[in-house]
């Protein structure tokens, strides 16, 4: 059974009541005992260790590569360069990334050569013995500069690139990865602006930030005859299968991806890098090849959050009513667009500068630009984190200009007939005491987020009258997919949760799923489970032979309206002598619909808050002339346990979501509002407005005292 439009099955109240009980993760025992096996934990017989050589220069022609010393090192089984692999390009949508560079390198860290060896030590040593000569080319590091005449062109052959689905839509400037304009016409916009009493414009900047999962990217590839097997950290196994097939030409039905446990994702694990070179090393050696990135590589050769510059302009009436809004958003796309999963090659989150409000005339222009730095990728609410920081800072600035209370200004501009938005805003505002004197302030941010969509299916099978399994091809990057599926199945079947076993299968033995990401799994796989289990329940009454199974594929249409409102409010103190910002307490309000896994739901919000706190206060992947400056997690700091303030979670269970039983997405909901809420609180505390992330102590200090004097 395949359904485009999912009917909402009706369920008895007692079946749904089980969702109130805190869940115990089905895979939990494997995780707390260390028995859960992640990519790097697999060690197939005869396995070789892979290591890769990265480019040390930002833009250069490769004049020669000498691999002879590496090849002679004892233990080395194979060495590959771009010439061995050939002109093979990969990417999540646009295939613009070579497996190994051939003639040119475009960023520091780009893969130039690879080794497979009997030991990790030999592989690493061999990489160091490879000698490459480079002839430097002019490089471009600033996206706006990349659009000027005479700027270095990174991809002279851009027009010839394919996508994983076929040819590429042509683009104007060769350094533009993608560009999309959305909203009313320019004429309509200007007419709306003309009716404003006040027009304000602000420019905001946000840095590259790394997803910071504790498990670096890794992959194992081996062949059994013509079948290519893959275990990797990719959270979208079917997507990886498609990308591997498109790049290598190996038939998609002869690639089997077995991903199960993934050690954190946060948007970064949809992008695969070394799976491709492992494919060629495995094919060449006839043995399983495993590559696990070091964290040095993780920080310099993957795809962190895009840096962005956002110019926001809003027209407003004296009473605070928004009449027009425009945003020009430029994302630094880095040297390759291959880490972006969508056909527009932009981050659609860039459109969300003011999406929580009702603005009659809006126009957004969003661009991603090639520069000679590591590729821009997806990270927890891609584009939206940047847009909401800008938008919600902008709204407070407008309130300041008009002399209005920031909460009142927001309330005035909420979408009509949307009591939920008002409730979210009011609940967040209610817990905030008024600022008590200089150095202490409160701030708030409101946001509206659409959940992800796409296709996914499960098979629900009755093994006996009271024993069931659900087969899914989804990998679990930690969000609790398996437990969610089990609980939805249990509720739909009207049985106890322990009657259900969720079985994760490879791409060869499960229905397609678009993968974990964009907070889509509960919406799509939850729905598929619900529909299939409900249908199965009906059949059980007459079933005499087992197994009985129902398969269901759901395709949530792109652009469906499944919004949720959220708000973050914080109270900060600012040390004016050091610039240090301390979040004293925080509250997250989430319009969550029906909560299926209450503990995981709370965990997503708490963890999201921590994620947002890091993005707000400390995280910046510094890149200087294309060189990533952070060499480890000792430099790129992630928040630690004592860095976390008291946090209150407020859940509004409206039951209006499009997910199963009215569930709404929550995965990217906790982090979005934290940076602007803190920036807004800082301004109320000390009168300083910061428009660049992260909000470091030094930035605050400099805003208060001016640039520190050097010697």
């Amino acid at each position: 059974m395949t359904l485009d439009q999912t009917p909402m099955p009706a369920h008895a109240a007692e079946d749904v009541a089980m969702f109130a009980r805190p869940e115990v993760r089905h895979e939990g025992a494997l995780k707390v005992t260390g028995a859960a096996r992640y990519t790097g934990d697999h060690h197939p017989a005869g396995m070789l260790y892979a290591a890769c050589l990265g480019s040390p220069v930002a833009h250069a022609r490769i004049t020669s590569i000498d691999t002879s010393a590496a090849e002679e090192l004892p233990g080395v089984v194979a060495v590959l360069t771009g010439h061995d692999v050939g002109h093979v390009l990969f990417g999540r949508h646009l295939r613009d990334m070579p497996v190994l560079a051939r003639d040119r390198v475009l960023f520091i860290g780009q893969r130039v050569a690879a080794v497979a060896a009997e030991t990790r030590e030999a592989a690493e040593e061999a990489v160091r013995l490879i000698e490459v000569d480079y002839d430097d080319l002019p490089a471009v590091f600033d996206p706006r500069e990349a659009l000027t005449d005479g700027a270095a062109v990174l991809h002279p052959d851009a027009a010839s690139y394919g996508t994983i689905k076929g040819a590429r839509t042509p683009v104007g400037h060769p350094n533009v990865q993608g560009e999309l304009v959305h909203g009313c016409s320019e004429a309509e916009l200007e007419e709306a602006f003309a009716a404003a009493d006040l027009v304000v414009e602000h420019t905001f900047r946000t840095p590259r930030q790394h997803q910071g999962f504790i498990e670096p990217h890794g992959a194992i590839v081996w062949f059994e005859g013509e079948i290519c097997h893959v275990v990797s950290t990719n959270k979208a196994p079917f997507g990886l299968r498609q990308q591997l097939a498109a790049a290598t030409g190996h038939p998609e039905d002869r690639i089997v991806v077995h991903n199960r446990f993934i050690g954190g994702d946060f948007g970064g694990k949809g992008f695969s890098v070394d799976e491709f070179v492992c494919f060629y090393l495995a094919r060449k050696t006839g043995r399983p090849v495993r590559s696990v990135m070091s964290y040095v590589e993780e920080l310099s050769a993957t795809a962190p959050r895009h840096a962005a510059e956002l110019v926001l302009r809003t027209g407003v009436r004296r009473d605070g009513t928004f009449v027009a809004h425009s945003a020009d958003v430029v994302f630094d796309g880095g040297a390759f667009a291959g880490a972006k999963a969508n056909a527009d090659l932009i981050l659609h989150g860039g459109f969300d500068t003011m999406s929580a409000y009702d603005v009659p005339a809006m126009r957004h222009r969003v661009r991603t630009i090639y520069t000679n730095a590591l590729p821009g990728g997806h990270m927890r609410a891609p584009g939206e984190v940047q847009a909401v920081f800008a938008g919600e800072s902008h709204v407070d600035l407008i309130a300041g200009e008009l002399g209005l209370d920031p909460v009142d200004l927001r309330r005035r501009n909420l979408p009509p007939r949307c009591p939920l938005a008002a409730e979210v805003l009011d609940r967040a505002a209610a817990v905030l005491p008024r600022p008590a004197g200089r150095g202490r302030g409160t701030g708030l941010a409101l946001y509206r987020r659409q959940g992800g969509t796409g296709k996914g299916g499960v098979v629900v099978r009755a093994l006996g009258p009271d024993r069931f399994e659900v087969v899914t091809g989804s990998a679990d990057q930690g969000s609790g997919t398996v437990t969610m599926i089990a609980r939805v199945a249990a509720a739909a079947l009207g049985v106890a949760e322990d009657r259900i076993e969720v079985v994760q299968r490879s791409t060869a033995d499960a229905l397609y799923d678009a993968g974990a990401g964009a907070s889509r799994v509960t919406r799509v796989l939850g729905d598929a489970t619900n529909v299939a289990a409900t249908e199965l329940r009906g059949r059980l009454a007459t079933a005499t032979e087992f197994p009985v199974e129902v398969a269901c594929v759901v395709e949530a249409p792109r652009g469906e309206d499944n919004p949720a409102f959220g708000a973050c409010a914080v109270e900060v103190t600012v040390d004016e002598l050091t610039g240090e910002i301390r979040v004293e307490r925080a509250v997250l309000v989430a319009d969550s619909g029906t909560v299926i896994n209450p503990i995981a739901h709370r965990g997503q919000l708490e963890g999201g808050f921590a994620f947002g706190l890091g993005a707000a206060l400390m995280e910046e992947l510094l890149v200087e002339e294309g060189q990533v400056l952070a060499g480890s997690l000792g430099d790129y700091k992630l928040p630690t346990a004592p860095d976390m303030p008291p946090l209150e979670i407020v859940t509004i269970a409206s039951g209006q979501g499009l997910g199963p039983f009215g569930a709404k997405p929550v995965g990217e909901f906790g982090n979005l509002g934290v940076p602007p809420a803190i920036a807004n609180a800082v301004e109320r505390a000390i009168g300083v407005r910061l428009m660049v992330l992260p909000l470091t102590a030094e930035a605050v200090w400099t805003a208060l005292h001016g640039s520190p004097s050097e010697h």
Partner: protein
């Protein structure tokens, strides 16, 4: 990383003999927290490593008869931090040790390692400096004693010669009326290296400062004593605002930090000033322990 040969001597004499035989192909290994990192990243490539863990005479943490302390080079930071003896005789030292990285690292990292590694951001050196601690160094020509304040030459460089071993640290008994404190400025995370950190030791008698020590981590290419600031405090009332502001400004002037992700050079100097002010104020209101 290179798979170095691993040696496990049990006496200082054996260690010295190995060092003489292996020369610059060998590195000493204490806790491993620095050397293993450097080796793994290919930044150190020793052919031989001489592990000091079994050299009993390099370990230990003892009271000296005069009321001071002797810390063996291989004594862990965690041992110093949690030792009742240290808490009694040099509480400032225990305090500084409690700020080193994380518990797990403190269980491995050693007193000697944190000195000879000579990373200017380490927490222990400035605190040992304000205690006028001495480093006992043993070598082919016998032992010598060097004030910790004179141990450091530059980034990752000390006066300890390739054929010498840092044997132990002697912390003299604190003078009557001595108190010490440590302020580590961590604007990012709790487990970070400091942007700057300041150690202060004050001795006061009859309401006047009779001796002062100020040392800074992260203020330049070495941990650094700020003698001009120390002099400015002598004779003043502990915690008195003008005096401590003057001293703190002199600390700022004494520093030449590098700019990095933890702050620009100018900001680090300003933060050293602020931290010094705050620490002097705190110590001014504390009773001498």
């Amino acid at each position: 990383m290179l798979l170095f040969d691993y040696h496990r001597p049990t006496t200082v004499a054996e260690t010295a003999a190995l060092m003489a035989e292996l020369g610059e192909d060998a590195e000493l290994l204490a806790g491993g927290t620095s050397l293993m990192n450097l080796a793994r990243l290919g930044l150190a490539e020793p052919a031989h490593v001489i592990a000091l863990a079994d050299v009993g005479e390099l370990g230990g943490l003892d009271a000296t008869p005069d009321g001071g302390l002797q810390l063996g080079a291989t004594t862990t930071i965690r041992h110093v931090e949690t030792s009742p003896l240290v808490r009694g005789r040099a509480p400032g030292l225990a305090e500084a040790c409690g700020h080193v990285a994380t518990v797990r690292i403190r269980n491995q990292a050693t007193v000697g390692g944190s000195l000879v590694h000579a990373d200017p951001n380490q927490d222990l050196p400035p605190m040992l400096m304000v205690h006028d601690a001495l480093a006992r160094i043993t070598g082919p020509n016998g032992d010598r004693s060097v004030p910790v304040a004179e141990l450091f030459l530059g980034f990752f460089e000390t006066v300890v010669q390739p054929e010498e071993i840092l044997h132990s640290i002697v912390v003299p008994p604190p003078a009557r009326g001595f108190r010490a404190g440590y302020l580590k400025f961590l604007p990012r995370t709790k487990d970070d290296y400091s942007t700057v950190a300041v150690a202060v030791g004050l001795t006061a008698e009859e309401g006047r400062v009779t001796a002062a020590r100020i040392a800074v981590a992260g203020g330049g290419s070495t941990p650094l004593r700020c003698t001009a600031a120390e002099r400015a405090l002598v004779g003043t009332i502990p915690g008195e605002a003008t005096a401590l502001a003057e001293a703190a400004a002199l600390v700022r002037e004494a520093l030449d930090p590098i700019s990095d992700a933890r702050g620009s050079s100018g900001y680090k100097r300003e933060m050293a000033r602020v931290c010094t002010t705050r620490l002097l104020r705190r110590l001014g209101t504390e009773d001498a322990g």
